[in-house]
C-alpha cells in the first residue's frame, strides 16, 4: 500500500472523498475503533473519574466516540477541514479545532488528563511547505503538549513510522521536550496486525512503566537472545521452514507444506483431506 504521507499535505489528502471513507467504509471504521480503544486502554486513566482528553488528529471524531462512551470529555484537533466538517455533521460531543499541530498547540498548563492520537504523528515527519522543518515542528508540538498536560498524565500516539530513522526523529523530539516513555508494539510478529504505540509520560512516577504489547510471546525481551534447548538441525536445507527436499513441486507433500505455511501466516485455508493434491480426471 502506498503511504498517504507521500501524496502531499494532510489537509489536501483528507479531502471530501477521503473523509467519506471514515463514515461509510465499515472496515476503516472498525480498525479506527479498535486502535482508539487500545490507545485509551494504554492511557490507563484512573477508573470512575471523568477526565479531559485531547485527541490529536481527531479526524471525523471516531475515536472521540470511544472517549465519550467512557464518560470523558474531549477536545479534538485536526488539520483537515473536510474531516472536521464530517465530525461536525455527525454532532460529536467534543470540541473541534482546525489546527496544525506542527505550529504547537495553545492550552493552559495542566489542562489534559490524557492525550491520544491515532495515525497522525507521522505526518509531521514530512515537509510539505518550504518553511517546514520536521524536527523543529515535532519539537514545537511536543513542547507545547508537555505544557498542556497534567503532571502524571500520559500521551499515547498510534503511529505508522516509515522507517527506523523516522521513529527516532519522533522519539528524540519527544525526549528533548521532557517526556519519558517509549514504544509499545502489539503483535510484533505479524505484518498485518502489528501496531506501534508511542507512550509518553510527563514526570517519572513509580506507576509509569511502559505497557506490554499484545502477543509478544516470541520476543518478550527484545535485546536479549533467547536460549533454547532445542537443537537446530541442518539437514540439507538451511531453512527449517522450507519445503522438504524430496517434495517435488505440485506434489501432495509440497501442497500440504504450502498450505501449512499460509496457515502460519494467518490466512484462512481449507482443511486437509484425502482429496488434497489429488489430480483431477481430465474431462474429455
Amino acid at each position: 500500500m502506498p503511504r498517504p504521507e507521500h501524496g502531499g499535505p494532510p489537509e489536501l489528502y483528507y479531502n471530501e472523498r477521503e473523509s467519506t471513507k471514515y463514515t461509510n467504509n465499515s472496515r476503516v471504521i472498525d480498525v479506527q475503533f479498535r486502535m482508539s480503544e487500545r490507545a485509551m486502554e494504554l492511557l490507563s486513566l484512573p477508573s470512575g473519574q471523568p477526565s479531559l482528553i485531547l485527541d490529536v488528529g481527531c479526524g471525523s471524531g471516531l475515536s472521540g466516540e470511544i472517549i465519550s462512551e467512557m464518560g470523558h470529555f474531549w477536545i479534538g484537533l485536526d488539520i483537515s477541514k473536510a474531516m472536521l466538517d464530517v465530525a461536525a455533521w455527525r454532532e460529536v460531543n467534543g470540541d473541534l479545532f482546525l489546527q496544525d499541530m506542527g505550529d504547537g498547540i495553545g492550552f493552559r498548563p495542566g489542562t489534559f488528563d490524557g492525550v491520544i492520537s491515532i495515525s497522525a504523528i507521522q505526518w509531521l515527519c514530512n515537509a510539505n511547505k518550504k518553511h517546514h522543518r520536521p524536527a523543529h515542528r515535532l519539537y514545537r508540538f511536543f513542547c507545547s503538549l508537555y505544557i498542556a498536560m497534567a503532571r502524571g498524565a500520559r500521551a499515547v500516539f498510534q503511529l505508522y513510522p516509515e522507517n527506523s530513522e523516522q521513529l527516532e526523529l519522533i522519539t528524540t523530539a519527544a525526549m528533548k521536550a521532557g517526556f519519558t516513555g517509549g514504544i509499545t508494539v502489539d503483535y510484533p510478529n505479524s505484518t498485518r496486525a502489528k501496531k506501534m504505540f508511542l507512550c509518553l509520560f510527563t514526570g517519572q512516577t513509580a506507576a509509569a512503566q511502559l505497557p506490554q504489547g499484545l502477543d509478544t510471546t516470541f520476543s518478550p525481551i527484545a535485546n536479549v537472545v533467547q536460549f533454547t534447548n532445542e537443537r537446530f538441525e541442518f539437514s540439507g536445507s538451511k531453512n527449517k521452514l522450507a519445503a522438504p527436499a524430496h517434495a517435488r513441486k505440485k506434489s501432495r507433500d509440497w501442497i500440504l507444506h504450502k498450505k501449512q505455511r499460509r496457515r502460519r501466516q494467518g490466512f484462512e485455508i481449507r482443511a486437509d483431506s484425502k482429496y488434497t493434491g489429488r489430480r483431477r480426471k481430465h474431462k474429455f
Partner: protein, 124 residues
C-alpha cells in the same frame, strides 16, 4: 466551541507570551443539551479560571446567574453545579472570532470550529 474549552485556550502565536485569555467575539451562540455529570464539573472547577469564565459568559450574554466569585465549599451545591454545567458545556459559540490579546491575530470560528491555522510568518 464551548466555554470550558475557551477557558483552557491560550494563544499559540509565536512570541505571544501572555496569550491568555483569548478574546471571544460571538456572532451566533447555540444551546445544546449535555448530560449533567457532577463529578466532571467538580473536577473542572479546580482547573477553570473562574474570572475568565465569568467575564466571557457575561460578554456573550449567557451568564446564567453564576456568581462573580467562586465560593468555597460549592462542591455539594447541586444548584450551583448545574448552573456551572450549563455555562461550561451547554453554551456553544457557533460563529464568531477568537482574538489573540497580544498579537491581535484573529481566528475565525465557523460552524463551531475555530480555525487556528497560522500563516507562514508566525509559524516558523
Amino acid at each position: 466551541m464551548r466555554l470550558l474549552t475557551h477557558n483552557m485556550l491560550t494563544s499559540h502565536v509565536k512570541g505571544a507570551e501572555s496569550g491568555y485569555p483569548l478574546i471571544l467575539e460571538a456572532a451566533e451562540v447555540i444551546l445544546r443539551n449535555v448530560d449533567f455529570n457532577p463529578e466532571f464539573i467538580k473536577r473542572m472547577l479546580s482547573k477553570v479560571n473562574w474570572d475568565v469564565l465569568y467575564q466571557t459568559a457575561k460578554a456573550i450574554g449567557h451568564l446564567n446567574d453564576i456568581p462573580e466569585q467562586l465560593q468555597p465549599n460549592v462542591e455539594n451545591d447541586e444548584e450551583f453545579l448545574r448552573k456551572a454545567h450549563h455555562v461550561l458545556l451547554e453554551v456553544e459559540v457557533k460563529e464568531g472570532h477568537l482574538i489573540c490579546p497580544t498579537s491581535k491575530k484573529k481566528f475565525q470560528i465557523s460552524n463551531g470550529i475555530p480555525n487556528m491555522l497560522l500563516g507562514e510568518e508566525s509559524s516558523s
